[in-house]
Amino acid sequence: MKIDSIRRAIRFAGFVLPLTWVPGSMAGQMRAAQAQSFGVGVTTATVNQQAPSAVLPAGGTMAQDQASNVAIADMVTAQDAFAIVAADGTDASDAVSSATLEQVSILNGLITADGIVAMASSTVDGAGANSNAEGSSLANLVVNGVAVSDPAPNTRMDLPGVGYVVFNEQIPTGDGVTSSGMTVNMIHVVLQQLGLFGYETTGEIIVGSASSGVN
């Protein structure tokens, strides 16, 4: 009697469990698009602020934010900053984000630029998933009084006494088959101080950030 019950339970489990199993590849087919952008972001021990900032709402198609003047913690000033994100929130096959700014000054003029465009776009279809930062640019970039012309992606420069800066920082994500993403930070200043164990990061300033992703 007891053995029969166990056999029945095993048969039942053998029949029902396969019906409840969802393969990982199917779960991976739940498609989603992400997009966000911001003009200026400052993170230190005392400041954590982004402005203007746009984030794609779940299932949404577009969001935007703008500010005529941006000034954060006496560290960054900028004018006419726009953050725009656009995607198909239901089909989730594409996402585009952009951040644009004019007359940017960082750390009291240590870094200046007349115009910044950060742009990221991602698409996915039967042929694969792709992202890029095409359309991003820095106009009349000057670092410590020296003009820097059209820096290549992920160009790093030391800023003595401050830390370092990465221009046109591009961070790709995804497998390129079913998922892909791109974050581009046109100016990324990493603030550092000399501590007991060498240089320690104390904060960061990001100006012109755009992210997009699909999966």
Binding site: D94, E102, S137
Partner: protein, 213 residues
């Protein structure tokens, strides 16, 4: 035995005739007019679709190449439109909804020291263009907008929107016109890819979806 064979033969012949006929009809509909511009957003259909995304144009000249960064001569935008393919009594293809945010960064286009910023307040019409060479789909849509710099309201606008494959940069196209203020970013050169009057994107992507859901 011969009847089923005869029926099968007749059915196959009819099916082939139908396919050939429909292909012929489509080819005629899409064929460019002799002596006229090849791709000019001149023929439209009211069918369900949506167009999503955003991008950058470097106008002028509006080609696939970016202008020198120092010039800061470019336009950036986000835009989408959705229609279920309905028409009004006048035969206008109605849009269900849409948005447009447009920024012209050209120094000479500044108003009171700020870049020209156009913001759609209503998207009223949307139609699929059937005579372009935009590979994945093309649309013509528009409505009313506001000039954010001046507060001018209820200005008619129209855009020409082209999805010509991936990536969007170097392939897709976009153009806009706001006649009441004499503003337009159009590239009316038939030799420019992918289709006049759109200007080729130098960044971003336009995505045509053959559904409004």
């Amino acid at each position: 035995m011969s009847n089923p064979r005869l029926l099968a033969g007749l059915t196959a012949t009819a099916a082939i005739a139908l396919v050939v006929g429909s292909c012929e009809a489509n080819r005629n509909a899409l064929a460019p007019k002799v002596g006229g511009p090849r791709f000019h957003f001149g023929a439209f259909e009211c069918i369900p679709f949506k167009m999503t995304g955003g991008g950058r144009i470097d106008f002028p000249p509006g080609t696939a190449d970016k202008n020198p960064p120092a010039s800061h001569t470019c336009e950036t935008f986000g835009a989408h439109v959705i229609t279920s393919g309905q028409t009004d009594a006048n035969g206008t293809c109605l849009a269900d909804k849409g948005e447009l945010e447009w920024i012209d960064h050209r120094p000479e286009m500044q108003i009171n020291g700020h870049p020209l910023n156009l913001h759609a307040t209503a998207v009223t019409f949307a139609e699929v263009a059937t005579d372009t060479d935009c590979r994945d789909g093309a649309a013509h849509w528009g409505g009313k907008l506001r000039v954010q710099n001046t507060g001018q309201e209820d200005l008619d606008f129209e855009v020409w929107d082209c999805d010509n494959g991936e990536p969007g940069a170097g392939h897709d196209g976009f153009a806009i016109s706001v006649p009441e203020i004499g503003y337009e970013v159009k590239c009316p050169d038939p030799s420019l890819p992918p289709a006049e009057p759109t200007c080729t994107l130098t960044g971003g992507n336009r995505q045509f979806h053959p559904t409004h859901l």
